[in-house]
């Protein structure tokens, strides 16, 4: 029963997706069923997390083929945490979609594809096989292509062309890297690869393979200088789609980087230095990019890029405390970024625009909603004791003890610039006196909505804000969790033994 527990989140998502396909045009059923299924997936993911936390890393061998030969699914603490966060973010976005996505879009299979996307995410987090990871990535990107184009507006299609091209290119580079890796070692199992790569004498070839992986995952994660597709596309689809993309899609790239560079390509000074340089440039360029934008969703897109830098910096420093900081930031970032894009959706429904120049006066008119939106915005900045503050302590401490002062400077600069951006956004959107915008008669304004419809906007934002507050005020627990994940990642022998030996 518990042996296959790892696979239950996957089974659940694929089952929801298929059942929704059969209810193609029954929108109300789709909404209810999607939310119900997402609640179930939170419960399952919570169970999985509880199980892994108590009993340690678990594996399932597909078809019972022993480890290096068959496809392995592995749930260590990192995977289980990310599956849980995916389920929570998925639940919030599912409720938000039910309220905010237009009926015409829902009629073309929005919900089934949304659950296939979650399936791909869960699969990518749980697999222990590098080629299988590629397949899950493809499931993610093909679902995301459908979600980003659904509706077919001009800006959406233009954004989709850019998004599509760069993501395909990333997949091709990833596939090339797998080919070279297979040619070098004759294995695809990540735990098996860890030992085989370490034994190879031609280090130059190993470094090249590592750089290919870095480029492939780097495009997906949106690191400098490979991020230009991200701000060109993330502000075009419906808000619910932006939310799930902003929260989870770049993070799956970060997860892949974390996995590959802590397990397979470890202890390589060149790769670590490249990661550090990339991290510093990502922090600085993302922050400066966000500074000049006017559209709220573009600001948040650039902030995604900027904050990816924290996680890459943690990975580049490669000490236990730095990686704990990166993991803590990852946990905080998934929740907050999902929330930010939903927040911009709420503001769009209130005023009918996302341009910061035209917005204003929301605090005077909607004080309670403003206070709710205050939580994610300032969690992002990390004003203590809100959630963004704690991981930075780890990162800065690791930077000082490792002597990489430029990284520390970049981290502080990026936090400062985030503060400036959010403070400006707050005063522009909430405090400034609002202009009278032309009234759009066929637009579903928030003030015209019925109460149950409003709840579909407010409940998900509240849900994720509560999670954010928990991460901030319960930082002790999250720190303990991050430290344990970092320990598992740095001392990877436990992972390798569990996968290869099938200790019982």
């Amino acid at each position: 029963m518990t042996q296959q527990l790892i696979l239950y989140p996957l089974f659940l998502q694929i089952a929801i997706g298929i059942i929704l396909l059969f209810a193609w045009s029954r929108i109300r059923f789709q909404k209810v069923f999607s939310i119900f299924g997402s609640i179930l997936s939170v419960i399952l993911a919570g169970w999985l997390f509880y199980y892994i936390w108590n009993f340690g890393t678990q594996t399932v061998q597909a078809g019972d083929w022993p480890a290096p030969f068959g496809i392995t699914f592995v749930a260590d603490t990192l995977s289980a945490t990310l599956v849980l966060l995916t389920a929570i973010a998925g639940l919030a976005v599912s409720i938000f979609s039910a309220g905010s996505v237009l009926r015409d879009r829902l009629r073309f299979g929005y919900f089934p594809i949304f659950h296939f996307l979650l399936l791909g995410l869960n699969g990518a987090f749980l697999t222990g096989d590098i080629f299988n990871l590629y397949v899950w990535f493809e499931i993610i990107i093909i679902s995301s292509f459908v979600l980003i184009t659904i509706g077919g507006e001009k800006a959406q299609l233009e954004g989709a062309v850019k998004y599509f091209t760069l993501n395909i290119l990333a997949s091709m580079i990833f596939l090339t890297a797998i080919a070279v890796l297979y040619g070098l070692t004759g294995s695809l199992n990540m735990a098996d690869l860890a030992g085989k790569i370490a034994a190879i004498e031609n280090r130059g070839l190993v470094q090249i393979t590592g750089i290919l992986f870095l480029i492939g995952f780097g495009i997906k994660a949106g690191v400098f200088p490979l991020y230009f597709w991200l701000p060109a596309s993330y502000h075009t689809p419906p808000f619910a789609v932006s939310a799930i993309f902003g929260g989870l899609l770049t993070k799956v790239g970060v997860y892949a980087l974390l996995r590959v560079f802590t397990l397979i390509f470890t202890g390589d000074a060149l790769l670590d230095n490249i990661l550090m340089v990339i991290a510093i440039l990502t922090l600085v360029s993302g922050g400066i990019g966000a500074l000049v934008q006017n559209n709220m969703r573009k600001v948040f897109s650039y902030l995604i890029i900027c904050h990816i830098g924290y996680m890459i910096a943690g990975l580049g420093m490669f000490t236990e405390i730095a990686i704990a900081g990166a993991i803590f930031y990852l946990i905080h970032d998934i929740i907050v970024k999902t929330n930010l894009f939903m927040l911009s959706g709420v503001i769009y429904r209130i005023k009918g625009t996302n341009s910061m120049r035209d917005l204003g006066g929301i605090y005077a008119k909607w004080p309670k909603i403003s206070l709710l939106l205050f939580i994610p915005l300032f969690s992002l900045v990390g004003i203590p004791p809100l959630s963004g503050f704690w991981p930075k302590i780890n990162l800065i401490k690791a930077g000082f003890s490792g002597g990489s002062y430029i990284t520390v400077a970049a981290i502080i600069f990026a936090s400062f610039i985030t503060l400036v951006i959010i403070a400006r956004l707050w005063s522009e959107v909430f405090w400034k006196e609002g202009k009278e915008l032309p009234f759009r008669s066929n637009f579903g304004y928030f003030s015209k909505m019925k109460n149950y419809k409003r709840l579909q906007f407010i409940v998900p934002v509240t849900l994720l804000s509560i999670v954010s507050l928990y991460i901030g005020f319960g930082a002790e627990h999250i720190q303990e969790l991050s430290a344990r994940i970092a320990d598992e990642l740095v001392n990877n022998q436990g992972y390798i033994d569990t996968v290869l030996n099938m200790k019982k």
Binding site: A155, V161, T165
Partner: protein, 117 residues
């Protein structure tokens, strides 16, 4: 044979990237297709090339006695071909839609998403 195949893979990658860097949407798709084929051939090539040696253990043996063709890369290529088929079909439909809506096939004119709004 190895050298010939290596050169061909290199040409496929180079021409694929070159086509993707052009401004035309149709050339973009051709580039994606060429690049995909290059990657598939690369997997095949790096799985080592053998001639007429199927991975079948003879009836009177328990292990392989000679060099054999590795079946794993072939399985990988099969998966990759199916995936890239799906993606390429999507790409063609997307480009068709983008062309009807935006009324251009020049990527440089697709700059509405970069405008300040």
């Amino acid at each position: 044979m190895e050298i010939l195949l290596a050169i061909m893979i290199g040409v496929l990658y180079a021409s694929g990237i070159y086509m993707m860097l052009r401004r035309s949407l149709v050339k973009l798709i051709i580039g994606i297709i060429l690049l995909g084929n290059g990657a598939n051939l690369l997997i095949f090539f790096l799985g080592r090339i053998t001639k007429g040696a199927p991975p079948i253990i003879p009836a009177d043996g328990k292990v392989f006695s000679e060099a054999f063709a590795d079946p794993v890369p072939q399985a990988l290529i099969l998966t990759a071909i199916v995936i890239s088929f799906g993606l390429q079909s999507f790409a063609i439909v997307l480009v068709k839609r983008a062309h009807t809506v935006v009324r251009t096939d020049d990527l440089d004119e697709m700059n509405a998403t970069d405008e300040d709004s």
